[in-house]
């Protein structure tokens, strides 16, 4: 079977839709500039903002001004709707909507946390959760049979594409709208600032003097369907998904390894699935954040894989800023535009090379592109690569087994077992519940003696203790002098990637934000992958922690947090 792309949607600092995005790319017009919408005190930091207020976005999306809606959901709705309109996808019976995000409703929480204590703005509270952002977008689009929210930091949207493709190949979806959305928030702007990786100038990917990234915001989606279904519908096919892979660098929470092991394995895996050799790739849309670390590590991985056959490379983050969880969706949409219109987007603001860095393309080049590679890498070493092609590649397909049961489970652990499994030195940055899940994971791995092909985690609220710690610090100290560790540990994917780092596991690694009413995305993920033979074993974690301050907030809406630290092994 072949996976056709029949619609794309994009919104970012360089355009409200694909047509505007295309024009900005061709004209080499960057969207990075002064902060106008985000209410942060750090006006010295350039950003790639979508230049509209939330009220203006609501108007564009036809949303009632009084309806509380995270900015991430507004951006996602606009781009997903564009993709579905282009595809002419109206009947979504049996279809999936898979949308990555990490910020979710954080923009509302940071504005209203002090209101909640006074019993105000209570209808905003549940919107904090990342999976509710996906459900909100879906509710304004069409009834979908399945929704999911990959939350692997900056590779979230690309991982949505992977799950959608696997569902099509196993008959679990008739069509899949896949991608991601992320708005700017004071929370992650300040977080990246504590890591000292934000540039005070427009970013310069792959340049010798690059000194950090600019944050951006936006959304990007693809509509995927089986080629034969697209043809029956009479849809125009824009391109195909021909290969993909997800790996873990298993090196560090916020830095990439020197030799780019995870990135190398992801790109290699994607090429192998596509049945392509390095010489077949015409263009690489690099992750290229313009931090000293990413660009050097990604260059090392590119040189290892492509050697003397290096294709044209550029990072479009000098146009859009780093749109974090949305970047994989936005940049995949840019790759489709590049193939459709036969051009390589420029790598803006580059002036000088340095040892070890790849040489990017400096200006728009017009040439036919047959196969392009799109990279998205995230905190925790969550690396994903996607090959998109103008002509289709046959991918295997199979039916899904009816059920899957774990061969081992750890659902309860006493405190002494936890301290036995996790040493004091290892634990110094972990919250008590993180120690518990690491101990449970180690114990179930020890019991079974399995080195899992995949590590997955599902979590309703994510790493909420560290998130609330960083948020409170930020609000109390007016965005000044913040401690970096709580931010580093705040992303949803902290647990799954931490366990990969501790066990040196370079396999598939994913985290899903999981609303209690959504079907289990982690189970859908491993069932499809096991059926397709991509993995044979998996460690699946369920994680949530109880945080007193947030529990008090939830009490206002008759809800509460339920701590959980379960570890399961599945095997075929």
């Amino acid at each position: 079977m072949r996976i056709a792309i029949t619609g794309i949607g994009a919104i970012s600092a360089i355009g409200r839709n694909c047509a505007e995005t295309l024009q900005s790319l061709l004209n080499e017009q960057s969207g990075i500039g002064s902060m106008r919408v985000l209410g942060s005190v750090h006006k010295e930091l350039p950003v790639g903002e979508v230049p509209f207020s939330d009220a203006e976005l609501k108007q564009m999306a036809g949303i009632d001004l009084s309806e509380p809606m995270p900015r991430t959901a507004l951006l996602g709705l606009l781009a997903a709707r564009e993709a579905m309109q282009q595809a002419g996808l109206q009947n979504t019976d049996g279809c999936a909507f898979i949308s990555g995000t990490t910020v979710g409703g954080m923009d509302l929480t940071e504005q209203h946390l002090h209101h909640y204590a006074q019993g105000q703005a209570l209808d905003h509270i549940r919107l904090h959760e990342a999976d509710s952002t996906t459900r909100t977008i879906a509710s304004h689009l069409s009834p979908f049979a399945f929704t999911a929210t990959p939350s692997t930091a900056c590779s979230s949207a690309l991982n949505a594409v992977l799950l959608g493709a696997n569902m099509l190949r196993t008959g679990q979806a008739k069509a899949a709208v896949v991608g991601g959305a992320e708005s700017l928030s004071k929370f992650h702007l300040n977080g990246f600032n504590t890591l000292m990786i934000l540039s005070h100038e427009p970013c310069r990917p792959f340049d010798a003097k690059r000194n950090g990234l600019n944050l951006g915001e936006g959304a990007g989606y693809l509509v995927l369907e089986r080629e034969e279904d697209a043809k029956i519908r009479g849809a125009v096919i824009l391109g195909y998904i021909s290969g993909y892979a997800n790996t873990c660098d298993a090196y560090h929470q916020t830095a990439s390894s020197e030799n780019g092991e995870g990135a190398y394995l992801a790109m290699k895996g994607a090429l192998e699935m596509a049945g392509l050799t390095p010489g077949d790739i015409d263009y690489i849309n690099a992750h290229g954040t313009a931090t000293p670390n990413n660009d050097l590590s990604e260059s090392a991985a590119l040189r290892r894989l492509f050697g003397s056959q290096m294709p044209a490379v550029s990072s479009t983050k000098a146009f859009t800023g780093h749109t974090t969880s949305a970047s994989g969706g936005l940049e995949a949409a840019i790759c489709v535009l590049a193939m459709q219109h036969g051009f390589i987007p420029a790598n803006l603001h580059w002036s000088e090379t340095a040892e070890g860095l790849v040489q990017p393309v400096l200006h728009t080049e017009h040439k036919p592109l047959h196969h392009v590679l799109c990279n998205a890498f995230g905190f925790g070493g969550n690396e994903s690569s996607l090959v998109l092609s103008l002509a289709g590649t046959d991918l295997s397909e199979t039916a899904l087994p009816s059920s899957l049961t774990p061969i081992a489970a750890i659902e309860e652990l006493d405190d002494s077992a936890v301290s036995q499994m996790v040493s004091g030195a290892e634990a110094r940055r972990m919250t008590p519940q993180m120690r518990r899940i690491v101990a449970a994971a180690r114990m179930v791995l020890q019991q079974t003696g399995i080195t899992p092909d995949a590590i997955l985690c599902e979590t309703e609220w994510g790493c909420m203790a560290q998130s609330m710690r960083f948020l409170q610090d930020m609000l109390d100290n007016d965005e000044q002098q913040l401690k970096p560790t709580p931010f580093i540990q705040s992303t949803h994917n902290t647990v799954a990637s931490l366990i990969a780092i501790l066990t040196g596991n370079h396999g598939y690694n994913a985290t899903y934000a999981q609303h209690p009413l959504s079907p289990s995305a982690a189970m859908m993920d491993i069932r499809t992958q096991m059926a397709l033979g991509q993995i044979h074993s998996a460690l699946v974690l369920q994680f949530d922690e109880q945080v007193e301050s947030w529990d008090q907030v939830l009490a206002h809406v008759g809800d509460q947090m339920t701590p959980i630290a379960h570890a399961y092994i599945y095997k075929v």
């Binding site: 504590t194 000292m196 560090h252 929470q253 110094r428 002098q481 401690k483 970096p484 580093i488």
Partner: protein, 85 residues
């Protein structure tokens, strides 16, 4: 100077969550990174923040920390010379 060194050790223990450690456990002249305390790049960011919060010292370039954070003594000397509070 000795007083600053003792105070700094307590602040490092707190900032980096070395729960089971006391100032006496830290050798003033031992390397902070690699051997010795075995700190990493996240700790370096925490130490930069510590100097900002406690002593009013702002480092714009994280790489500048390398020379300063060789040991507790080099860090104390730098603070002594550059503190604004």
């Amino acid at each position: 100077m000795e007083q600053l060194i003792e105070q700094l050790k307590s602040q490092i223990i707190e900032a980096l969550n070395f729960e089971d450690m006391t100032p006496a456990d830290i050798d003033t002249d031992a390397p902070l990174f690699g051997e010795g305390l075995g700190l990493d790049s996240i700790d370096a960011l925490e130490l930069i923040m510590l100097m900002d919060r406690e002593y009013g010292i702002k480092l714009a370039d994280p790489k500048a920390g390398k020379a300063i954070f060789q040991s507790v003594r080099t860090m104390a000397e730098y603070i002594q010379a550059n503190r604004t509070k």
